[in-house]
Symmetry: C2
Subunit: 141 residues, 2 copies
DNA sequence: CTAGACCCTTGATCAAAGTCTAGAGTCAAG
DNA sequence: CTTGACTCTAGACTTTGATCAAGGGTCTAG
């Protein structure tokens, strides 16, 4: 097996995972990263799994999950002792959350698209459907 | 002439527009609402246009605009000649952003769904594809 | 040994979009 | 006139997700 050197410093991990050092310590405080081993000096000592986890967090974040949701997602792997069934249920809940998020975005998207299609892109603001839809009728202030 | 009595209090406006009083004052500070007339006592005095504008803000917010973007939209809507085009462009940019987000969510949704489908929901945790994906994840970046 | 790079903790600060508080003045009803 | 609801200002606080600063200890190369 490879990788038997669990002695990455926080700076190295930060660089490889593409996040700031402060962010790593912040995630640790927030319970998204486990507390790492420490050297005698007190320096945090990581191995590759920390980098993997940080990348996982970053991707999930890019997808619009909050850190709290990500913590739940990560907690799935800690649920081992509670059995595969609980894990599957929680994953299904995540899926439902994602579906709801997609549905909400789709609703917004369609409202916007209709407005854009109806807008000539020039002329009198009074005629712009985007502005009119937002303003509702009878402004004339 | 149904000459409207322009003497709505902030509380009435808040109730009709469906926002909090503090939010109205906050929007005023932030330049999203014009400063209203004042009574001799100092009380803010609104008319219906304030309600319309608050609804405009709320709709734009629902469409994913930030308050800063909304401030821009409100300013643009006053510009007869350039306003409409810029409004349409910004709306189109919002639409593109939303599309990208939907695409990302759809992608992760399908990955998650496949994991769930492949998971028996019982048995050895080592065999659970969900746990395995979370544990290892990320082959390369 | 010493300089410079790195790491430690604690606590402050930021941005967004409000929300809430304190202390004081005002308005409408009874 | 008094009571209670309403409004005023200024400024502090909230949440999320970090980022920075101060004041120190550690590590490594020359």
């Amino acid at each position: 097996m490879n990788s038997q050197s669990p002695s990455l410093t926080i700076g190295t991990v930060a660089k490889r995972a593409g996040v700031a050092i402060d962010t790593i310590r912040f995630y640790e405080r927030e319970g998204l990263l486990p507390e790492p081993l420490r050297r005698a000096s007190g320096y945090r000592s990581y191995d590759d799994s920390a980098i993997n986890r940080l990348r996982f967090i970053r991707r999930a974040k890019d997808l619009g999950f909050t850190l709290e949701e990500i913590r739940d997602l990560l907690a799935l792997s800690v649920d081992r002792h509670r059995g595969v069934k609980a894990v599957k249920q929680r994953a299904a809940q995540r899926l439902a959350d994602i579906d709801a998020r997609i549905a909400e975005l789709t609703r917004i998207r369609q409202g916007l698209e209709q407005l854009i299609e109806a807008c000539p892109g020039r002329g009198d603001p009074e005629q712009c459907p985007i502005l009119r839809a937002l303003a509702d009728e009878e402004p004339q202030a």
